[in-house]
């Protein structure tokens, strides 16, 4: 077990840091959830792609597994290539926008948390901890995004049916 895993005080600080960041990126996750609802609609065959992403993020220990998944889905499926005129970045496609968020924006937040918690970057233990923080941020981001996707697509389905 690593020093970080054994330190309860550190772990509580990490939970608080992650929660703070979730508050900060919540709006971004909502916008991407809306983008997903626009691109995928509420159809069950497309819905499984969102839940598949969530499953990968929750089960892997490697951040690159999630990035590779997003890249492959973006290459394979038209829905992941859809732009969203109302989402503040009308020319950005869903998959590329999500990849940037996970790979770049959350990496900056990871580094901010690591610095505030005095997690170094020289030893493997430090790097494993940094990766763990990144994964926790990605899981939270994807969870919020998928919730918004479900909400937005069910709302639009109700409007269509009504």
């Amino acid at each position: 077990m690593s020093t970080y895993q054994e330190d309860t005080n550190y772990q509580l600080k990490r939970i608080r840091e992650i929660s703070n960041q979730v508050e900060i990126f919540y709006n971004e996750a909502v916008v991407l959830g809306d983008h997903a609802a626009h691109a995928f609609g509420g159809r069950s065959e497309h819905r499984s792609q969102m839940t598949g992403l969530e499953t990968i993020a929750n089960s892997t220990f490697k951040t690159s597994d999630v990035f590779d998944y997003v890249k492959k889905q973006t290459a394979r499926h038209r829905e992941w290539q859809q732009t969203y005129p109302d989402g503040g970045a009308p020319n950005d496609r869903f998959g590329e926008r999500l990849l940037k968020q996970l790979q770049e924006d959350l990496a900056k937040k990871r580094d901010g948390i690591a610095n505030r918690l005095s997690v170094g970057d020289k030893t493997d233990e430090d790097r494993l901890e940094r990766r763990h923080i990144h994964l926790l941020l990605m899981r939270e981001f994807i969870r919020k995004m998928v919730v918004q996707y479900e909400y937005a697509s069910s709302s639009s389905n109700r409007r269509r049916e009504g």
Binding site: F61, K62, S64, D68, K71, K72, A75, R76, D124, R131
Partner: protein, 146 residues
């Protein structure tokens, strides 16, 4: 058989070193050397070999592909396998020991060779998995631009 510590270290290297290097490798070939992404069948064939073979077989496959008499229309495959062979050779002869520090000390030559092959097979698989994802993304982006 690799230890849990070695496997954990390879997984960390995959995220921190091999993932960005795989993306940079392909982008350099495509944007600087004006190559094209590999066709899906080619890249998936390479991934399949990486999944099912030992390192010696994988290396033989890469060299065989490099040395094939590719027509001009498939020049990109020649470039890809030439560069991949160089990268794997450098990983095996230099980085495995000096940078990655994965090799167990105090082994006899047969044990050391076997460990080296297992480490290289694991590292190459990680690298190739990232290559596949990046290749698919870049191929789609090229199709999209046309």
């Amino acid at each position: 058989m690799l230890s849990i510590v070695q496997e954990e270290k390879i997984s960390l290297l995959s995220d921190t070193v091999l993932y960005p290097e795989a993306a940079a490798f392909l982008r350099r070939l495509i944007y600087e050397q004006h190559s094209s992404p590999l066709p899906t069948a080619q890249i998936m064939g390479l991934l399949n070999i990486a999944h099912t073979s030992n390192y010696g077989q994988l290396r033989d496959y890469v060299i065989h592909q490099r040395d094939r008499n590719w027509p001009d229309s498939r020049r990109s495959a020649k470039v890809f396998y030439t560069e991949l062979e160089k990268l794997l050779t450098q990983m095996q002869t230099k980085r495995l020991i000096e940078d990655f520090r994965l090799v167990t000390s105090g082994q006899n030559s047969q044990q050391a060779k076997q460990e080296m092959d297992e480490l290289m097979a694991a590292l190459a698989l990680e690298f190739i998995q990232h290559l596949v994802a990046e290749n698919m993304l870049l191929a789609e982006a090229q199709r999209n631009r046309r």
